[in-house]
């Protein structure tokens, strides 16, 4: 059973979007890891994470994102999160991750970003 729904949208050969809906707890973070791994292996320049319908993220979920930072940097892939609710953003903030991850307001702002690295 997973309380997270992940929809994968390949927008172009350079851009993939993962739409998250629900909760990323310790159990469902395994699913996020698999989808993110596939996206990283897919050789896209940009991976956008649509958090508009993300209700909750645990430290295990954050751990998934952070575990790819080095690989993303090496492969020159930009990971951008957008549409994060205030309550969810607070968790990124507590851990200082809001400073080192690319977090923007909406999809348009995310699409306007070219390669800028991940920290």
């Amino acid at each position: 059973m997973s309380l997270i729904e992940i929809t994968v949208i390949v927008e172009s050969k350079d851009l993939i979007i993962l739409k998250l809906k629900g909760d990323i707890d310790a159990s469902s973070s395994i699913r996020l890891d698999k989808e993110l791994e596939a996206a990283v292996l897919g050789a896209y320049n940009r991976i956008l994470i649509d958090c508009t319908h993300l209700d909750y993220i645990s430290s295990a979920g954050l751990g998934v994102f952070m575990s790819y930072i080095h690989e993303l940097e090496e492969k020159k892939i930009t990971l951008i999160l957008f549409g994060i609710a205030e309550k969810v953003f607070e968790i990124f903030s507590i851990l200082g991750l809001s400073e080192i991850m690319n977090i923007v307001k909406d999809k348009q702002e995310a699409l306007n970003l070219k390669y800028i690295g991940n920290n």
Partner: protein, 133 residues
């Protein structure tokens, strides 16, 4: 004073049972959405730690969650059957050398969201207090 108890085998999927437990608490005890959110995050982080790092996902070992309601204070405790740990020497997850690690953030989050956090029984038991008003 009201008291609630739940005991689960150490399987990570059982985190759902804990989430339901906290949902039920919200129906019984008046708490604001903000505090409910902090409780949900902190208690599930504590139980996740107990399952993964305490009991090392051994399904024969259990995690016990207890809640005592004393006036405006909610006292949660989460206890595992593992080897314990020294909570005083935890690495800072915000330090540059720890940023890429997949774990080590749970307790940091818990300490930020609870009104009080303490450890007992060589780290096997964590006590979380929330003041509801």
């Amino acid at each position: 004073m009201a008291e609630f108890n739940i005991q689960i085998p150490s399987i990570i999927e059982n985190i759902r049972v804990i989430e339901s437990f906290i949902d039920n608490v919200k129906d019984k005890v008046h708490i604001t959405d903000d505090i409910y959110g902090n409780i949900m995050i902190s208690v599930t982080e504590s139980v996740t730690n107990a399952i993964k790092h305490g009991n090392k996902e051994d399904s024969k070992k259990t995690v016990t969650l207890n809640l005592k309601v004393e006036g405006k204070n909610l006292h949660f405790s989460v206890e595992d059957q593992g080897e314990g740990f020294n909570h005083e020497i935890l690495p800072d997850p915000t330090a540059p050398e720890n940023l890429e690690k997949t774990s080590g953030r749970g307790i940091f989050i818990i300490k930020s969201l609870c009104d009080d956090v303490s450890f007992e029984n060589e780290g096997r038991k964590v006590n979380l207090t929330f003041v509801t008003a």
